[in-house]
Symmetry: C2
Subunit: 87 residues, 2 copies
């Protein structure tokens, strides 16, 4: 598999948007405060990211598959924290 310039941009995007959720997951886990996170946002985002993952698969885009697979996990964690800490 050869990587062209487009895939370098895609991988940069993938790395950044994937890494982006890590400080949020860490902050929410550390502070046990998810009060200002929106529950509808997390649910809509999770379904959307699952569709992006499918789109990445059908588009044969390694960047999209890589990014969205990890983001699904991060979003599931945030959703879990939101439900857990809201009780």
């Amino acid at each position: 598999m050869s990587f062209d310039f487009n895939e370098i941009i895609g991988f940069g995007a993938a790395v950044l948007t994937t890494i982006a959720f890590l400080p949020q997951v860490f902050k929410t886990w550390k502070t046990k405060d998810a009060s200002s996170l929106s529950l509808p946002m997390l649910i809509l985002f999770l379904i959307g990211i699952l569709l992006w993952l499918i789109y990445g698969i059908v588009k044969h885009s390694p960047s999209m598959i890589f990014a969205n697979a990890i983001t699904v996990v991060s979003t599931l964690l945030l959703l879990y924290f939101k439900i857990k800490y809201t009780k």
Copy 2:
């Protein structure tokens, strides 16, 4: 321009991940509380989404261009709220 099935999945993904940020923007604006939003998350996410927008342009993906252009605006708004309400 004809839309194939892949683009329908992509557009579904685009609509969901774009719509997802609206309840977050509305909640943050309404409550004036961005305390549990992570600032590094917003900054990394914004740069990442800008790269996804470029990737969408070079990949000729209408879904990615549509979604990421709007998400750039939503993320800029959240970043503005975060900075404004943290003072």
